[in-house]
């Protein structure tokens, strides 16, 4: 039974790993057992799931945004590239 005992620090690390689908079966098992006796980590885990949803929306949003360089910036780069070409 002792080998299944983990600290809150370890439990929350596994919980974070699990957010990316990368926690192993044994780790998930330890985590579930830890949750039985630790409401704080269970609360962390629930809130972590919500944070993951927010991160995912933010990530998609960031990847979809279309930003252009200003014509001033382009001109600066153009000058620098032309100089290098000579």
């Amino acid at each position: 039974m002792g080998k299944f005992k983990i600290t809150c620090d370890e439990a929350t690390t596994i919980c974070d790993k699990n957010q990316y689908g990368e926690a192993r079966f044994g780790e998930k098992l330890k985590l579930m057992m830890h949750f039985y006796g630790c409401k704080i980590c269970k609360c962390y885990s629930d809130q972590n799931n919500r944070m993951t949803k927010i991160y995912n929306v933010y990530s998609k949003d960031k990847c979809n945004q279309h930003t252009c360089l200003t014509s001033e910036d382009k001109e600066k780069i153009e000058v620098a590239v032309k100089e290098k070409m000579q």
Partner: protein, 189 residues
């Protein structure tokens, strides 16, 4: 007989044709516009230097993107080689009888509301960005690579020369700090 078109390079048109595309590609992968601009410019410089190596098999844009990818990785490597500047606030006891347990005042609080209020809200986005910016540089970098840009664990470990255990500890520290920051500035604000 091969009918494949051989691509050619026209560096005098690069800025006009590809600077916006490359800038967009970069801005989603690094933390600031200025860094992105520098990386785009460096990509063009490197392209000029290695023009003789261009075999014409890929399009000009694809070739420039492959150079840019290296530049982005080099940028992260450079950050990684700098020592962490910020003190990391831990949420757990480090030693003694309570080692690895929550420090009472750092334990998660119940959040004021249960709905996913305004998940697309601009204000929420701004708060999240504020919290990400507050992370120590290395934590922010690994968190961004893994969570926002979706790099594979193996790829990050290889590029930053860290073990996967290191990566998960960093991710854990980053997420714990982010959760705390969001709790103070969004959920219970």
């Amino acid at each position: 007989m091969s009918t494949e078109t051989k691509h050619t390079l026209a560096p005098d048109k690069w800025v006009q044709l590809y600077s916006d595309y490359l800038f967009n590609y970069t801005i989603t992968r690094v933390s600031g516009g200025e860094i992105a601009k520098d990386l785009v410019q460096e990509t063009f410089f490197s392209g000029l230097k290695s023009m003789k190596n261009f075999k014409g098999l890929a399009s000009e844009r694809t070739w420039l993107v492959s150079i840019l990818k290296r530049k982005i990785i080099d940028h992260y490597r450079k950050i990684n080689s700098k020592k962490g500047k910020a003190e990391v606030r831990m949420n757990f006891y480090k030693d003694g009888e309570n080692e690895g347990e929550w420090i009472e005042e750092r334990a998660p609080n119940t959040w004021a509301e249960d709905t996913d209020r305004g998940i697309k809200n601009e204000e929420l986005k701004a708060t999240l960005e504020y919290c990400i910016d507050k992370l120590p540089e290395k934590y922010g970098m690994v968190f961004n690579m893994k969570t926002i840009q979706g790099f594979e664990t193996e790829e990050i470990c290889k590029e930053l020369d860290i073990t996967s255990s290191n990566l998960w500890v960093i991710i854990h520290r980053a997420r714990t700090q982010l959760r705390r920051c969001m709790e103070d500035n969004w959920f219970n604000n």
